[in-house]
């Protein structure tokens, strides 16, 4: 059974890159979300093994989505996509319980190894 991944990013391009690299490495993308609201809804619906969550998204940002997801599932495995300059947000997210974070721009391997480690823990 491959690990089931949910991708949440408002940029289609970003999701495409992530999807490509993850699928090539045996992960299954069970869903994609382009807003925070959608991410929460899809998490609840699909119950993925891990979710990759962009911080900057319209309607509801990634941090708020993260909070809601952790309310639904306190064991949720969440990886946050952030940018330089968001250090304080990241620390807040770590305190809230994310498993790892990646800093944009990132190489595809980065995402892969962060997911691998987070799923192994």
């Amino acid at each position: 059974m491959p690990f089931r991944v949910l991708l949440a990013d408002d940029l289609y391009f970003m999701r495409m890159v992530q999807k490509e690299v993850l699928e090539a490495n045996g992960y299954q993308i069970v869903g994609e979300a382009s807003t925070g609201i959608e991410a929460v809804a899809k998490y609840q619906e699909l119950n993925p093994d891990i979710i990759v969550l962009d911080i900057t998204m319209p309607e509801m940002n990634g941090l708020e989505a993260m909070r809601r997801i952790l309310e639904i599932d306190s064991q949720a495995k969440i990886i946050i996509c952030s940018a330089i300059g968001q250090q304080n947000l990241i620390v807040g997210a770590i305190n809230a319980g994310i498993k790892d974070f990646i800093v944009k721009p990132f190489k595809p391997e980065r995402l892969l190894s962060a997911i691998k480690k987070a799923l192994a823990a």
Binding site: N88, I90, I94, K99, D100, V103, S113, A114, A118, A121
Partner: protein, 685 residues
Amino acid sequence: MTFSGLDEQKLLRAFLEESEELLEKLNDNLLQLERDTSNPDSINEIFRLTHSLKSESALLGFVRLSGIAHRLEDVFDGIRSGTVSLSRPLMDAIFSASDLIHEIIARISIGKSDEEIDSQSVIRELKQLAGLAPEIGTEGYGAAAPDRSERADEGGLVLGDFEYSQIMEALERGEKIYELTVMVSEEVELKYPRAYLVFNNLEMIANVIQTVPNMTVPQEDQLYRQLVVLLSSELDEEEIYSKACSVDLIERLELEVWDKTSIQDAVSASRGEETARAVAAAQTPSASRIEGTSIRVGTNKLNEIWQLVGELTIFKAQLSQLHDNVARQKGNESIKGEVERASDHLERITTEMQQAIMGTRMVPIAVLFNKFPRLVRDLSRKLGKNVDLEIHGKETEIDRTIVEVLSDPLTHIIRNSLDHGLEGPEDRRAAEKEEVGHIMISAHQQGGQVVIEIADDGRGLDVDKIRQKAGIASEVSDEEVIQTIFSPGFSTKEDVTDLSGRGVGMDIVATRIREELKGEVEVRSEPGESTLIRILLPLTLTILHSLVISCAGYYYAIPVQDIDETVRVLEEEIFKNKGSEVYSYEGNEMPLLRLDSVLIGPSEDQQNRRREHNGVVVEQRRGRVCLLVDELVEEEDLVIKPISELLNHRRLFSGVSVLGDGKIIFILDTARIMEIIETGGFDAI
């Protein structure tokens, strides 16, 4: 104040920087409290502020300062709990205490100590008015700040009593003591959050006794390349290791279990440095001081980055020229496309970077405006005038270097408004005006400029008096007459110092705004009703959107903000008028200047003159002038650098910049050119 080992200067600087903000808040809250003496928010905030001031100054050994702050803290604690009532005299005493604090900090900032300051009378007054029990003993709080010695092992764990007892308790519970060393990959950006992730994971399964560097208060990111964590846990090595390992981008992980002897060694080694922990604590500001999402960065560092972005801008321009050249050549279509994309990309990044860095230079004008309520309050009391101050647009952002220069002129204008502009209560009643005078200060952004207005509903300027004193002919309009209060030397003229309205020093104010800030200032006035002073300032002094022109084989730049329009000028539209050339444009005449004759020298060969010219109509407060140039080249954002006096013959240029191809370009000072035209300075050419 002596404690060896700590960077005293650094601490002091941090203290001064922070106290500035603190004093401002204190001031604001005091003013708010005066308006509404039962406002619990203000009371709590002042209590908090005085408390921080007390502790910080005590830490640095400023005994007098902390003494006053301590007393204020007591007073506000009393007010908070209802044991002290806030009377008018008490409020005044509080204000004088706050003034003394200002004064002491000003002394400290120029390197003096606070010891010569007499704080006793202020403290006595506060105590008396607040009905606090006289205190026995020293006035200073924490006067005997603990002596601190240098930390022995930089980067290593330092165990004090607290750590020791934690270790002992953990051992009694049957837990093991681990020392975990984590190396974060060198190339990782944001090392602190990454180290924090490890730390957080460990905290969930173990008891973290100590970390080096400290994790609760972020320090310089680079310090978190290595994180050492001392922890106790009942889990075995394997489990601790795997938890720490679940984080990506960790280069190396070492886990060591401490046995009895290593614990004893560590403890006794640390004991030798018993005070070391105190230092470690002192080096770490308390958590309450960390302000959300901001860090302090020295202005010089920002300036350095700014300069680099300037260089980058130049390089970007070079690249885009290269791209233009490549595009003109035949063949190599695929490379052309790539160069174009790369060039576009760089362009976008550079522009964004420029804006982002520009953002760091910008501060809300509130930093300046916030001091005015206090100024107006004090001055209006002194003058026995009743004044209501309104402030708008505090959030308007402006370059911090502009703020620094603007502070004095603006203060002067407001003082003038209070002093000379607004009438006293009796005069106002006699003039059938509301007894309370109004002053309004506002700021907003308009195009590439910041507009600041200072308005009052006072007596206005006495145009006739100005006209008479300055000896201005009657055909000149009132509007123009009142602008002469800004003319250099105006206020030094005899008898004009007491012009009803104002006038004192307004010429100096105007000079600073015009010359140092490249801004404009104008005044409007309704006699007997109001005065409005409007200041126009550039958003920043370092980047100038300019029109590049060529003239006699050289490039020059004219700031776009000075340009009214560009025109085609036919030779037959140019006339001679009293020896100077004028250009007849849409029925109006304006002075005309052949830029080449000014910059290079007169050209004798009339035959060579073209029949048609490119003209740039420049508008300044003094009026308009048409500059004839060879070519209009392009508009560009230029990074302005100061120009050496030696190169600046007749001060025709306001600065110098470098174009994409590395050519030096001079920026024309249109105000100066206008001035020379007016004084007939070019006629001899």
